[in-house]
Symmetry: C2
Subunit: 294 residues, 2 copies
């Protein structure tokens, strides 16, 4: 676990540095000069000390194929920019209406609503600009777009909002979460695998791992929402229940959800059985999802 | 001009048909099932009888190189999806707060604000998914992302909002408009040229044409805002002045703006002088920008 903690910290610093360098007037090229206030809002939403778990998964999946970290940098940054844009939009008053994110004012609180909408739009667009310029295969661009689009992350957010009005059953909650959170986590793993040149069998195994890791991440999130305190999480807790958000904890109870989390982690690690030590990073991340306390 | 009117109608129908086919549960593939309400909102924002001028420019720029219309279809649809997403987000209450668009309720009026934000996000993301799957060169994806991002369309929208608070001078208005409207029009022309395999000189000439055509389009828009009536335009008019929007008409007057429009069209057509009949489509579109009445 020490190796894992080291890798997680190293990757987080590497991503922070990459975003910090890219999200500047020099890094963001185009037809005109990007407005300072918009860059500031993008930075506020992206440079906030996140754990950078999605870039970590890109790196670890590429590692399975011996691919150097530097080669996946544009993909790691792009996945994280898509994640950060989704948080900015999800926090908006018309959506989840959150004032805090990782202990800091959300983008629409620190700036204003219009700026937050545009900063999200800009981060999403920049993710694709960066990938297009990276020389990485078009399949990587397709993967990120599909994972984060109408039949993935954005569609999942829509189902989540609809779920506040209509009671979702267990299966519907699982599908919603597989889209809202799971799709991008699965997409991060597949991105690393695609860059690594995975064959069909390897890609199928890693896709299965990614889907299960995404499920585990969300189960842990739902559990933390009822068991953790706001100070540790850096955002309001127990808000899911207050808002009638559909979660598995509210549907099947805390204990059954914890049991399911354990099973899911076990299946995720089993999905990697065709790989040796080169997949230890992915195994450690799956275990971390069960143990994390924030 | 008859040929032009025919081509414009044909391309508009072709784009409408393409979007109508693509924006369905079958056309939109991903990890899960796209939510029906989200597809409906995307369709509301995209299938609204627009003139489809940006796809027309993609087709006409590709025509210069003898490239068949069908080959540029994914790019034509992607450019239009990006345009439609920008309209959905620009119409939001936190942005321009518009109730009508082409005579119909805007997406947040017909649905709700959260759905409109997500429908915009989904259209933008789908544009890149479609391009990535199309087999078109990565440069096309980069072009669209750069044209519509922080140093292009989104940055221009930010400058426009800032311009409501701070008085912009003539140069600042021109840069804002070059980003907000001009960048995507220029990008549409460059997209067609890139697919056509333009050499450096050809690309430079078409880029110049695109930038000037974008300027002309915006000048005509500013003029129409003060001279047209709401029924013809399908949206509120004279709203720019009411909102202290920075436009050239408010800064240099109607007559000077009309003169500048004529000059800009002239320069746009001059930029095409290295091309023969194969660029007649682009010439006709530039002329149309001066003559349009809605």
């Amino acid at each position: 676990m020490n190796d894992f903690a080291d890798q997680m910290r190293t990757v987080a610093e590497w991503v922070e540095k990459g975003l910090n360098r890219h999200l500047t007037a020099d890094g963001l090229s185009g037809v005109g000069t990007p407005p300072e206030r918009l860059i500031a809002a993008m930075r506020h939403g992206a440079l906030n000390g996140g754990k950078r778990l999605r870039p970590l998964l890109v790196v670890q999946a590429a590692e399975v194929f011996g691919v150097d970290r530097e080669r996946v940098l544009p993909a790691a940054l792009a996945v994280e920019m898509v994640h950060c844009y989704s948080l900015i939009h999800d926090d908006l008053p018309a959506m989840d209406d959150d004032d805090l994110r990782r202990g800091q004012p959300t983008v629409h609180k620190a700036f204003d609503e219009a700026t937050a909408i545009l900063a999200g739009d800009a981060l999403l667009t920049e993710a694709f600009a960066l990938l297009a310029q990276s020389g990485l295969p078009a399949a990587v661009i397709g993967e990120l777009a599909t994972a984060s689009g109408v039949a993935g992350m954005v569609g999942g957010q829509m189902r989540d909002l609809e779920g506040e009005r209509a009671a979702l059953d267990e299966d519907a909650i699982i599908e919603m979460q597989a889209m809202k959170t799971g799709a991008l986590i699965r997409g991060a793993v597949r991105t690393g695998a695609l860059i690594g040149g995975a064959d069909d069998g390897q890609l199928a195994a890693l896709t299965r791992y990614g889907a299960l890791a995404g499920q585990a991440f969300q189960l842990a999130d739902d559990i933390l929402d009822v068991t953790s305190d706001a100070a540790r999480l850096g955002k309001a807790t127990q808000k899911d229940a207050g808002r009638h958000k559909p979660t598995l904890v509210s549907r099947i109870g805390l204990e059954a959800t914890e049991r399911r989390l354990g099973d899911t982690i076990h299946h995720a690690i089993t999905a990697l059985s065709m790989f040796g030590k080169e997949a230890d990073g992915l195994r450690a991340t799956a275990r971390f999802f069960a143990d994390r306390d924030s």
